[in-house]
Amino acid sequence: MHEMGIAQQLIEIAMDSIPKEMVNPKVEKLNLRIGKLSAIVEHSLTFCFEILSKDTPLENARLDIEFVPVTVRCDSCKHEWEVTGPEFGCPHCADGNVKMLTGREIEITSLELAD
């Protein structure tokens, strides 16, 4: 639901990263890393990005999203594993006070410009 704001931030960060001296830059692809636990819906983000990128160097750029799995570590027994559902209990010990390692990223890693 907040993908419009995320798309806006993406465009701002991308625009700031394009060298100022470039004439008519055209971005072909934005590479993103999005954690599977982050509250981002891909088609909603793409839709918002398409609207907001009109008449900018990012118009028609593709969002290439690498989804980052949710991984956690149990504080009690130090077991690390990938969480694939909503349950975060440690499969090895009953306690299972877990720490998130990955899965909440919303990052822009790079952009690719047309030659």
């Binding site: 907040h2 995320i6 960060i13 636990l37 509250a39 909503p86 909440r104 822009i108």
Partner: protein, 222 residues
Amino acid sequence: MEINIQKRVLEANETQAQKNRNFFKDQNVFVINMMSSPGSGKTQTLCRTLEKLMPAIRTGVIVGDICTTNDADRLAVTGVKVTQINTDQFGGDCHLSANLIFDAAKKLGCDDLDLLIVENIGNLVCPAEFDIGEDVRVVVLSVTEGEDKPLKYPLMFRVADAAILNKIDLLPYLDFDAPLAVDNMKKVHSRLPVFEISAKTQEGFEPWIEWIKLKVFEKTGR
């Protein structure tokens, strides 16, 4: 040509949230971010909570809604210092961001407060993603919702520091399985303290009030 960026998209919000955290520390005020789905009884829970905390704990409230000042009006009856944020002025956002909280906290004034409670916009998805510089996050679930809500919205229950199960006075009339709902919360977040209360009858409030008092004391020494 590829340009390397490596930047967190929510960095601007995170930076502001840290600024808020420093501000709240300087003001020596403890901050609770209360979140829930719409209609879980957040405002009613807050009204009862404020009656029990004040005047011993000097409390202020920032309340967020897309539209209307209804919640602020209801809270003002308790005598609490309250300010309302309406996000329709900012594009009808579904969450409160750190910069809105900073402006609202300045407007409200925190120097005479021990506790600031932010009643976030009713939504179990987006507010979980946005740090506002709070000390703790509390999620409210009510027995008129599904027992599986924690499993459907795991991020919200993962990031919460405590949960409230509200409207327990309705349990005799519903098929709601309260132990299952609590169990589902613990599946997502095993050490989550859960307070089972009724904001209508005020049943179960004591442990919740004691928890807040302890947290406020731990930070502010008051």
